[in-house]
């Protein structure tokens, strides 16, 4: 008999179990999907000693309240959100021991949109093509709703004597890691030339995030550059982060749930780092697009991934020493 721990969901809205995405999907016609803030998702798993691809909880816009049946180790990352255990606040972006029966409340502040909750040992959830990532088009996935329980692969003995209120781990994550800038770095897209000199307006004008934001796309209102050439575009694969200019006064930024083909020209593409930023934008927020190069974008991305490598290594070392 195995006594598998469970995580009861006391309250949840717009909350799912996800992972880094269905990387084998695009070649088979499916969107990659997965955590929109990939850095925060990777960080949450690293902080609890999980594999980067382990399933975790993504909470969008609203909080989530959880209660474990056993002692567990979790980490909250993403939107500035302070987890509270039985009402007592604890730092985010850090491993957090929760005892059996305690209540963890993860709220989301106005400074971001999505929080991630990784639990050591991760969740036992259905997989499709190697990923648990929800795909709304094919109605696959594990929504997290009030009253349900998520089965955990294993429990974790308490790491911290919380009576002393001390954080015992410092894995080198900067304090301002959850801050969301109001600038989205983009690289000129393969069809940028079709917009002529009008493309510059993309970088000169502010844009307002509309309420129409989801896993498929982020719509921003403002000046929309117009194509200077006409003619239909043959359906082609479009990357996550593609900035498209359909008719109307809104730009469409494609997110990880986008259909993999489209017939619109791509005027710019968000950098990998900017995609994590876009995942945290809230309706009404004003943003700007900033032109960058692929070289600079890759350097910024690698710096963040190497930070995660260090965090993961320190976490694994610390937990190994304690067990």
């Amino acid at each position: 008999m195995t006594d598998r721990p469970e995580l009861s969901v006391e309250a949840a809205t717009a909350c799912v179990v996800t992972d880094l995405g269905r990387t084998s999907g695009p070649a088979r016609g499916l969107a990659v999907n997965g955590a929109l803030d990939q850095f925060a998702a990777r960080a949450a798993n690293a902080l609890v000693g999980n594999a980067p691809t382990a399933p975790l909880i993504e909470a969008t816009g609203f909080g989530v309240t959880l209660r474990p049946s056993h002692d567990i180790l979790l980490a909250v990352t993403g939107a500035p959100a302070e987890p509270a255990v039985d009402g007592l606040p604890h730092p985010a972006w850090s491993p957090l021991s929760v005892r059996a029966g305690e209540t963890v409340r993860v709220g989301i502040s106005d400074a971001g949109l999505r929080a991630y909750v990784a639990v050591h040992g991760s969740f036992d959830v259905p997989m499709l093509m190697g990923s648990c990532a929800p795909d709304s088009m094919i109605e696959f996935g594990t929504p997290v709703t009030a009253g349900m329980s998520l089965t955990l692969h294993r429990s974790h003995p308490p790491l911290v004597n919380r009576r002393f209120g001390a954080t015992v781990f410092d894995f080198g994550i900067p304090r301002d890691i959850g801050r969301v800038p109001a600038v989205l770095d983009v690289i000129e897209g393969p069809d940028a030339a079709e917009f002529g000199t009008g493309l510059q307006r993309l970088f000169d004008s502010p844009y307002t995030v509309t309420p129409r934001i989801n896993h498929v796309g982020l719509r921003v209102a403002g000046h929309v550059p117009q194509r200077t050439v006409t003619g239909e575009v043959l359906s082609r694969g479009v990357p996550v982060g593609a900035v498209e200019a359909p008719a109307g006064d809104e730009l469409l930024v494609l997110m990880r749930g986008r259909g993999i083909t489209a017939g619109y020209p791509v005027l710019a593409v968000l950098t990998s780092r900017a995609l994590d930023v876009a995942a945290q934008l809230r309706p009404g927020q004003e943003i700007r697009f900033r032109r960058t190069s692929a070289t600079a974008a890759t350097a910024a991305y690698l710096e963040r991934r190497r930070l995660l490598d260090r965090v993961a290594l320190r976490a694994r070392t610390a937990f190994a020493a304690l067990s």
């Binding site: 695009p26 016609g29 499709l128 094919i138 479009v238 259909g259 593409v269 990998s272 991305y301």
Partner: protein, 258 residues
């Protein structure tokens, strides 16, 4: 158990390639590879062989190639490889087809209820084509439609269109929802949609067959959610409402399945 499929020679195996390849960056984690050439079949065959080659995982398992008509979108994780490395790799690709790259091709018979609620745009399309509704249905069913690529949403089968002689304009305002199994046309293409989704294409009919399977029971194995691949061919045939109802929910599969 996935059923056995008949391996018939596809157009992909017999093409010679004189195509020119152009590669442009698409952000920091993707490249767009376009193949230029006069013969669209040669271009398409080259695009799909290139994607198959890239998806073997030789550069890195995270590299993913999405082939369409004249382009391959190559996505990668800049942590594991670089756009420059992939560009060099692609430039080393031997564009000439070889025997090992032969792509198996199956035929799928697709019953379709044309017109009415199942095909609200059928009469409109007949008007554009300048033919009777019966003639439009005959044209749609007259040939095998080659599946050129899988597109959004949800691995839709994008095929060459019927021989209408004229391109079919899209809807000015897309419908918010077309049902699963919708058969639609636009431009010189046709599409079979596995799921309910918004669409600006002209819906002429609907198949009762179940296309999408997320339980790993698809013919092409657990690595796919639909029973077809690019290179397969589709043969539509008309059914009446009674047959449609009788076939509702039958899984879509290859003609020569066992």
């Amino acid at each position: 158990m996935p059923a056995l499929r008949r391996h018939e020679p596809s157009a992909m195996t017999v093409m010679r390639t004189t195509a020119k390849i152009d590669i442009s960056p698409c952000g920091d984690a993707a490249l767009r590879v376009t193949v230029d050439g006069d013969d669209t079949d040669v271009v398409w065959a080259a695009v799909h062989r290139l994607a198959g080659w890239l998806n073997r995982g030789d550069i890195h398992p995270t590299v993913s190639a999405v082939p369409t008509y004249d382009a391959v979108l190559v996505e990668f994780d800049p942590y594991h490889t670089t756009g420059d490395a992939i560009m060099s790799y692609i430039r080393s690709w031997d564009a000439a087809p070889d025997v090992a790259s032969a792509v198996p091709s199956g035929v799928i018979d697709v019953p379709v209820l044309f017109g009415g609620d199942a095909g609200p745009d059928l009469e409109w399309v007949a008007g554009v084509v300048g033919a009777s509704v019966a003639e439009v249905v005959r044209l749609v069913c007259a040939k095998e439609h080659l599946i050129r690529c899988l597109g959004g949403p949800a691995a839709s089968a994008m095929t060459d269109g019927p021989e209408f002689g004229v391109p079919v304009p899209r809807l000015a305002t897309p419908r918010l929802r077309v049902p699963p199994g919708a058969i639609s046309v636009a431009g010189r293409q046709a599409v079979i949609g596995p799921v309910a989704a918004p669409s600006g294409w002209r819906q002429i009919g609907r198949t009762p067959l179940t296309i999408l399977r997320t339980d790993g029971s698809g013919h092409t194995g657990s690595d796919s959610v639909v029973p077809y691949r690019p290179g397969d061919r589709v043969r539509f045939f008309p059914v009446d409402e009674g047959t449609y109802a009788a076939l509702l929910g039958v899984p879509m599969r290859y003609r020569n399945h066992d």
